[in-house]
C-alpha cells in the first residue's frame, strides 16, 4: 500500500495532476427539518472536469452544491475540497470558500457597490490586495466576460445577462480552483441566456473545474464531461452527456427529459 502515493487521500496533496480529485463527496445526507434533501450522495470531481447536474425541481441539486461551500450544513457524510475536509461549523471555512467560486440564480450582486467594487471587494478584504492591483485584475476579468465598458455602473443599471456576467467575474476574482453554478440562466430573459452561456463555455475551454446545475442541454453537450441526474434527494444516474440526453438508462431520467423537451 505504501508504495503508491495516490492511495493516501487523507494527506493534503502537494502537487496536482488532471487525475487528482478536487471534490470528493461520500455518504452525504442532509435534512431540512424532517424533509430529506440529500440522501447518500457519493461522487468525485477531478481537476479540470466539467460536471452538469440536472433533475426535477426539489431534487436536491442546489442543496448539493450549496453544501460544497457550506452555504448549507450537512448532517452526515464527508466532503473534501482539494483534500481538505469541509465540516459544518468549522472555523476557517472562509479559506475554503475563497477557493470555490459560486454563481447564483439571482446574481446576488451588491447593489450599493459599482460593478468594479463588486469585483474588488473580495481580493481587497480577503487577500489584502491594494486597490489599484485589485482594480487592474478586475478590469481584466470584466474584459473576459465582455463587459469592461460597464465597470463604473451600478448593478441595477445592467440587464440580467450583464449582471450574471459580472457575478461570474466577481467569483473569478478570487482565483478559485473550482466554480459552482446554481442555475445561472434560469432567471434570465431568453435573449440574455446565450451571452452568459458563451462566457461559461469560454471559462470551461480555459480549463476551469466546473460544477453546473443547469437544464441547458446544449451547454451540457458542448462542455460537460459527465451529467449527474438527481431525483428525490439521490443521484439516480451518472453518464456522459451524449448518452444521457439521447439514451438515458433509468425511467426517471426518461420521464424528466420528456418533460424538459415537451415545453
Amino acid at each position: 500500500m505504501n508504495n503508491n502515493e495516490n492511495t493516501s487521500p487523507n494527506k493534503a496533496p502537494t502537487h496536482k495532476s488532471k487525475s487528482d480529485p478536487i471534490v470528493e463527496v461520500s455518504g452525504l445526507c442532509k435534512w431540512f427539518g424532517d424533509f430529506c434533501a440529500l440522501f447518500d450522495i457519493n461522487f468525485s470531481v477531478n481537476f479540470g472536469e466539467k460536471i452538469v447536474i440536472c433533475g426535477p425541481s426539489g431534487s436536491g441539486k442546489s442543496t448539493l452544491i450549496r453544501c460544497l461551500n457550506q452555504l448549507e450544513e450537512h448532517q452526515i457524510g464527508t466532503i473534501r475540497i482539494d483534500g481538505k475536509e469541509v465540516k459544518p461549523g468549522m472555523k476557517n471555512i472562509e479559506e475554503i470558500r475563497r477557493e470555490v467560486g459560486m454563481v447564483f440564480q439571482s446574481f446576488n450582486l451588491f447593489p450599493h457597490l459599482s460593478v468594479l467594487d463588486n469585483l474588488t471587494i473580495g481580493p481587497i478584504r480577503n487577500r489584502g490586495m491594494n486597490k489599484n492591483d485589485a482594480s487592474e485584475m478586475a478590469m481584466e476579468l470584466l474584459d473576459r466576460v465582455h463587459i469592461s465598458e460597464q465597470a463604473n455602473k451600478f448593478p441595477m443599471q445592467l440587464s440580467g445577462g450583464q449582471q450574471q456576467r459580472v457575478a461570474i467575474a466577481r467569483a473569478l476574482c478570487m482565483k478559485p480552483k473550482l466554480m459552482l453554478f446554481d442555475e445561472p440562466t434560469s432567471a434570465l430573459d431568453p435573449e440574455m441566456i446565450s451571452g452568459v452561456l458563451d462566457v461559461m463555455v469560454e471559462l470551461a475551454e480555459g480549463g476551469m473545474t466546473m460544477i453546473c446545475v443547469t437544464h441547458e442541454m446544449g451547454f451540457a453537450r458542448q462542455v460537460g464531461d459527465r451529467v449527474i441526474f438527481m431525483d428525490d434527494a439521490e443521484i439516480v444516474e451518472t453518464s456522459d452527456p451524449e448518452t444521457f440526453f439521447s439514451n438515458p438508462e433509468t425511467d426517471r431520467a426518461k420521464l424528466f427529459l420528456s418533460q424538459l423537451l415537451s415545453h
Binding site: 461551500n69 452555504l71 472562509e94 479559506e95 470558500r97 475563497r98 470555490v100 467560486g101 459560486m102 447564483f104 439571482s106 446576488n108 450582486l109 451588491f110 447593489p111 450599493h112 471587494i121 473580495g122 478584504r125 480577503n126 451600478f154 441595477m156 443599471q157 457575478a167 466577481r170 467569483a171 476574482c173 478570487m174
Partner: protein, 301 residues
C-alpha cells in the same frame, strides 16, 4: 388626430358641496373657541409680555438679545441632535444583537427593547435619572467638573453643549433620551438588517468574506440607506419626546416655558407660543428630510 397632438385634459378635481360644508364647520368651531375664551372666560390677552421672553431689548447694551424661550429651544435642539447620535449608536449595536447568533446578546437586546417599550417614558426617566445622577456621574467623574476651565468655558463648547454650568444637567437629559429612543432605533435597525435579503449574505460568504466584513461592507451600508427615512422620523419624534425631560429639571423649552407661564401667569399665550415653536422646528426638519429623501430616491434611479 395623430399621436403627437396634445393629449386631452384629464378630469379636473373640483371643490364640492361636501368640502364647503366641512370647511364651514371647521371655521365655526374655531370661532366658537375664540368666543368662549374672549367673551365667556373674559381672558385678557397679552402677547407682548410673552414675546419678550423670546427677544428682549437690553437697555444697557442697547441691543436685542435672545431670552429664555430661545435658549430653551436651542437646548431642545442640542438635546435632540446629541441624543439621536447616541441613540443611533446604541440602536445599531442592539439592532445587530437582536439578530446575531449569540444567545446572551439576543437576550440582552430583547430585554432592553421590551423593557423600555413597555414602561411609560415618564416612569422610565424618573428611575433612570436617579440611577445616572447618583451612580454613573460619580463613577465617570462628571460630578466634580470645573466649569470655568478653558476646556469648557469657550465658544465652541457653548455652541455644542450650551451653558457649561448646566453641562451635567444637559448630559443627564441627553443620556435619558438616548437610552429611551435607542430602543425604538434598535427596532428600526433590526428591521433594516432583516430587510436585506439572504442572498446578500450568501454572496458575501461565497467569496470568502468574514462575518464582520459582510456586515460592515455589504449589509449595514444597504440597511442604513433603507432606514434613513424612519430614522429621520424618529429624530422628529425625539424632539417632541424631549419635553418629558423637563420633569427632571433639564432646562429645555418645556421646562423654561413652565417657568415663563408661572411668572407671567399668561398660560395660554406661553403654551400657544411654545407649541408653535415646536411645530416650526419639527415641520422644518420633516420638510428638509422629505426633500433629502426625494433627492436620494432620484439619484438611486
Amino acid at each position: 388626430m395623430d399621436r403627437n397632438s396634445p393629449p386631452p385634459p384629464l378630469r379636473k378635481r373640483r371643490i364640492t358641496y361636501v368640502d364647503l360644508v366641512l370647511i364651514g364647520l371647521v371655521v365655526a368651531m374655531i370661532a366658537y373657541a375664540v368666543y368662549r375664551v374672549n367673551d365667556v372666560l373674559v381672558y385678557n390677552w397679552n402677547w407682548d409680555r410673552v414675546f419678550s421672553f423670546i427677544l428682549r431689548y437690553d437697555e444697557e447694551t442697547d441691543r436685542w438679545v435672545t431670552n429664555l424661550l430661545v435658549q430653551g429651544l436651542l437646548t431642545t435642539l442640542r438635546l435632540a441632535i446629541w441624543s439621536t447620535i447616541l441613540a443611533t449608536i446604541i440602536g445599531v449595536i442592539m439592532g445587530y444583537w437582536r439578530r446575531c447568533n449569540n444567545l446572551s446578546l439576543r437576550i440582552i437586546s430583547r430585554a432592553y427593547v421590551e423593557l423600555i417599550r413597555n414602561i411609560p417614558p415618564i416612569v422610565f426617566i424618573f428611575i433612570f435619572y436617579f440611577f445616572i445622577s447618583s451612580q454613573i456621574f460619580p463613577m465617570i467623574g462628571l460630578s466634580n467638573l470645573r466649569h470655568d476651565s478653558p476646556y469648557m468655558d469657550n465658544a465652541l463648547f457653548r455652541i455644542l453643549f450650551g451653558d457649561p454650568r448646566l453641562f451635567e444637567n444637559f448630559i443627564a437629559g441627553m443620556i435619558c433620551l438616548a437610552v429611551f429612543e435607542g430602543a425604538y432605533i434598535t427596532e428600526i435597525v433590526r428591521a433594516g438588517i432583516q430587510s436585506i435579503g439572504k442572498g446578500q449574505w450568501e454572496a458575501g460568504r461565497a467569496i470568502g468574506l468574514s462575518h464582520f466584513n459582510i456586515l460592515r461592507d455589504v449589509i449595514l451600508p444597504q440597511a442604513i440607506r433603507k432606514i434613513l427615512p424612519p430614522l429621520a422620523g424618529q429624530f422628529i419624534t425625539l424632539i417632541k419626546d424631549s419635553a418629558i425631560v423637563s420633569l427632571i429639571s433639564i432646562q429645555e423649552l418645556t421646562f423654561l416655558a413652565t417657568e415663563v407661564a408661572a411668572t407671567t401667569t399668561k398660560v395660554f399665550e406661553t403654551w400657544i407660543l411654545v407649541g408653535a415653536m415646536y411645530f416650526v422646528l419639527c415641520y422644518f426638519f420633516a420638510y428638509v428630510f422629505g426633500k433629502l429623501e426625494q433627492r436620494s430616491a432620484r439619484s438611486n434611479g
